[in-house]
């Protein structure tokens, strides 16, 4: 554990590459993930789709190294400094007794960054996500959408090279969800990091990702692994016929058993 002062400088460029081989996870005699192989290129925006209980959240936690696989390995390249992974949960999970600013600055605080610096970076992150004026408020005073933005800012404040999101916008209303999807995509483009985005929603996966992986109902088996043939994302993408076509393909993969 690095107790020395850590400063993070410059936006992450290039993200990390992931290589999962033979990953297996068993919970209480139930095999959640059987034998999982996946390669993710640096800077890729990968969406993982699948029905409930298919193991996608477990997979994400294994990638984040919050969970150790029972078999197989997860290689990260470059595997330099520990604090290059960020995680966004379905619930914003802010610390209710801290202000928005303190919440956004939390990762840097835990990494040992000095106050001035981490507050500056937190403010910048909040600004990017559109919450600059809310920095002194408490989570209880924010709407669900605003809380999720803070969670995003917190995820980005430490300049991660790998950003993992587990159905982060599922609890939000459609408009807020759309706005955040757009923003996330923009941030990804600006920073070039690797994003793995788990979702239920085919339309969201199609909108956000370059590549989509569809998991089967059980044991994390991959049913489809596809590079999406779509133009640059903007508000009008949904009107583009190619969008509908991709969604159809993804839906087909999800539906077949």
């Amino acid at each position: 554990m690095n107790a020395a002062r850590v400063t993070v400088s410059g936006p992450a460029r290039g993200g990390v590459a992931l290589d999962l081989r033979g990953v297996r996870k068993v919970f209480q005699n139930h095999t959640v993930i059987e034998h999982f192989d996946l390669e993710v290129r640096a800077g890729e925006f990968l969406a993982i789709l699948g029905p409930s209980g298919c193991g996608k959240s477990t997979l994400l936690r294994i990638i984040a190294r919050l969970l150790a696989p029972d078999d197989g390995a997860v290689a990260v390249d470059p595997d330099a400094d520990r604090f290059q992974t960020s995680f966004v949960f379905q619930d914003a999970h802010l610390l209710p007794w801290r202000t928005v600013l303190d919440n956004a600055a939390l990762p840097l605080e835990l990494m040992g960054v000095a106050r001035e610096e981490r507050y500056a970076k937190a403010r910048a992150a909040l600004d990017e996500i559109g919450l600059a004026e809310a920095e002194d408020r408490y989570p209880a005073q924010l709407s669900g959408g605003m809380r999720m933005r803070v969670s995003l800012a917190r995820a980005l404040v430490a300049e991660p090279r790998l950003l993992l999101l587990d159905e982060p916008f599922a609890a939000l209303d459609e408009i807020t969800r759309f706005r955040l999807d757009l923003r996330l995509r923009e941030l990804w483009k600006e920073r070039g990091l690797t994003v793995v985005f788990v979702t239920h929603s085919i339309s969201e996966a199609a909108f956000l990702a370059n590549r989509a992986v569809v998991l089967a109902r059980r044991a994390g088996r991959i049913k489809l692994d596809r590079l999406l043939e779509l133009p640059e994302r903007n508000e009008d993408l949904r009107l583009d016929p190619r969008y509908g076509a991709e969604m159809k393909i993804l839906l087909g993969a999800m539906e077949e058993e």
Binding site: R61, L66, F83, W97, P107, L110, P139, A140
Partner: protein, 251 residues
């Protein structure tokens, strides 16, 4: 003003009960040597006000000290127990001992160890009030959301950092609940300690009972309740000040 108004619903049952009891005793339905008329209790309070004032000061000091000790020690023990499953299994049952031991049985032992006087009374208050602090603090610490714990792990936070910056603040509402329970128990513990160790309201009750002065007994008991309420009120105040910005219970 609105605070006074919000106290009215609580006062009504009290006033009704007091009035009914007064009537019942005067008419003779209730024998005054068993349950005194409220007016007699009031008179006893005025009559013995110096004695009662000194007694409540003594009992308050003992109860407060015992309560503060059980707060600090109880939280520390809970933090220790939270460190591992194995430690919990090994030591938690002994903490439960504090809950189940009848204070009346061990109070004479306390006198042997601490002598007559305030130390025994404080010890008694401590023993009786510590368990709710331990139990509630432990539950609070162990109930931290797994996702938040994951978040801290992700950024390399040590167990201690996680305890101080996450688990403890998250546990605060639960801890305060434990303190609320413990505060009343500390008063009870102090009074029982005073039966054995002498002094304070406990001693007033003891002597008044020997002299069949039920009015004085009730007066002292009432004051003890007031003391308990005061402590409870203090905890509520602390709760308000620490939780008001973020916890549903104070909103």
């Amino acid at each position: 003003m609105s605070r006074l108004k919000s106290a009215i619903p609580a006062l009504i049952p009290f006033l009704v009960l007091t009035a009914s009891l007064e009537i019942a005793v005067r008419v003779g339905w209730v024998r005054s040597y068993l349950i005194p008329a409220p007016s007699a209790v009031f008179r006893a309070m005025i009559e013995s006000r110096d004695e009662l004032a000194a007694a409540i000061a003594t009992t308050s000091a003992s109860a407060l000290l015992g309560f503060l000790m059980s707060t600090v020690t109880g939280i520390a023990i809970a933090v220790f127990l939270s460190s591992s499953r194995a430690i919990q299994r090994a030591f938690y049952p002994y903490a439960v001992f504090f809950q189940t031991v009848p204070i009346i049985a061990i109070a004479p032992l306390l006198v042997i160890w601490f002598g007559y006087g305030m130390r025994t009374v404080v010890a008694s208050a401590f023993v009786v009030s510590i368990f709710p602090v331990i139990a509630n603090t432990l539950t609070g610490i162990l109930s931290t959301e797994p996702a938040l714990r994951d978040l801290f792990r992700l950024y390399g936070a040590s167990t201690w950092t996680t305890l101080v910056k996450l688990r403890f603040p998250a546990a605060l509402p639960q801890i305060l609940t434990g303190l609320r329970v413990a505060s009343g128990l500390a008063v009870i513990g102090a009074i029982v300690g005073e039966f054995i160790g002498g002094q304070g309201l406990g001693s007033v009750v003891d002597v008044a009972r020997t002299q069949q002065r039920v009015d004085k007994v009730f007066a002292a008991v009432l004051l003890a309740s007031v003391l308990g309420l005061a402590l409870f009120g203090m905890i509520n105040l602390v709760s308000y000040w620490t939780l008001r910005r973020w916890h549903a219970s104070e909103q």
